[in-house]
């Protein structure tokens, strides 16, 4: 119980700390932050339930007013802003990512975690994010989707990194990769 709790809390803190890493800028000028990589890692390392709980704890602390999102954002305003869907989708993204890694056991972990991160951290997360954008800006879903397509290459890079980091963690600290425990 204590180990699960501390891993959940530490991964929630890891998402916050990754938001402090200076953002990269892709060749065509789109900024990417490491924060959603943290969400992917919660799923790939902690598994579905614990990963979702870690992200939920992070989202709860953002809601109560801690400036934990990239750029020092936080508070209740985040949940009514046009990008609210992405923050609300974070726990679901981690859950689906973890669920895939837990159940797909007959492949190299780097590949499985990478594919799971694409499905959970991009497909699921963008489904929430685009719905939120469409709702807040009152635009059709297709038009809202166009607004975020520029960020997908950056997220694909993060999914590849999540796969490689998870596989490396499984070698360095095998007992802590709970998704494969």
């Amino acid at each position: 119980m204590e180990r699960n709790l501390t891993l959940i809390a530490l991964f929630a803190a890891l998402i916050a700390a990754l938001g402090l890493i200076p953002q990269l800028t892709l060749a065509f000028g789109v900024p990417i932050t490491a924060q959603s990589l943290g969400v992917m890692l919660c799923g790939t390392v902690l598994g579905a339930k614990r990963g979702a709980l870690a992200v939920l704890l992070f989202v709860l602390l953002v809601a109560v007013g801690l400036p934990l999102l990239a750029g020092g954002r936080g508070g209740l305003g985040v949940f009514v802003s046009p990008t609210a869907g992405f923050v609300i989708g974070f726990p679901f993204a981690a859950f689906i990512t973890g669920l895939i890694v837990e159940n797909w056991r007959n492949g190299p972990l780097a590949m499985v975690a990478g594919v799971a991160s694409v499905i959970g951290g991009i497909v699921v997360l963008y489904a929430f994010g685009i719905s939120g954008l469409a709702w807040a800006l009152q635009k059709p879903v297709a038009e809202a989707a166009l607004l975020v397509t520029a960020f997908i290459p950056g997220d694909l890079i993060k999914a590849v990194l999540a796969g490689l980091i998870t596989a490396a963690l499984a070698r360095a600290r095998p007992a802590s990769v709970l998704s494969r425990a």
Partner: protein
Amino acid sequence: MISLTSPVRTRASGWPAGLKLSLLCIATAVLFIRQDIAFHVVVFAVTAAVYVLPGARFARAGARALWRLWPFVVLVAVWHLVIGAGGQGAVIVLRMLTAVGLANLVTMTTSLSQMIATVMWLVAPLAKIGLNTRALALGIALVVRFTPALADKGTALTQAWAARSPRRSSWRIILPFAVLAIDDAEHVAEALRARGGTNP
């Protein structure tokens, strides 16, 4: 850890957090139901006035938080002007600014401890169906404690990289960063167990 609560005391700072959250839910619902521009202009003006009342420092902090929405304001304004629906665009922009402004107002006038107390009050009934609320409180405290500690470790790793390579560290430090976090979690879990664990 620094929260987004304003250091400026306002009249609303003393109100119960639950009341402010309930009022915010009602106000946000009404904002999304009403579609007439006159209503949104008035509510936006009232919200702006509420920000100005506690003084310039409070108003500046509020404006800074709202400034992050400028890409969406520009996008909606330009889009609706191009398609000839300026009125609808104005409603969307005003509603977005007011909804976020009111939510930020609650965050700025409510301390972190009041917010956490409200969360614990909200989840208290879930204890009857097996949720360990003590674990939740402990989890919150651990994240609040470990975020700055991890950020410091991230800075140390970045500096160690910079001392050895002219290239930027960026993603290369994430693996050692995650290993450090996992090692910390294991040590803290052991310390918690030694002190009686999560059960009261």
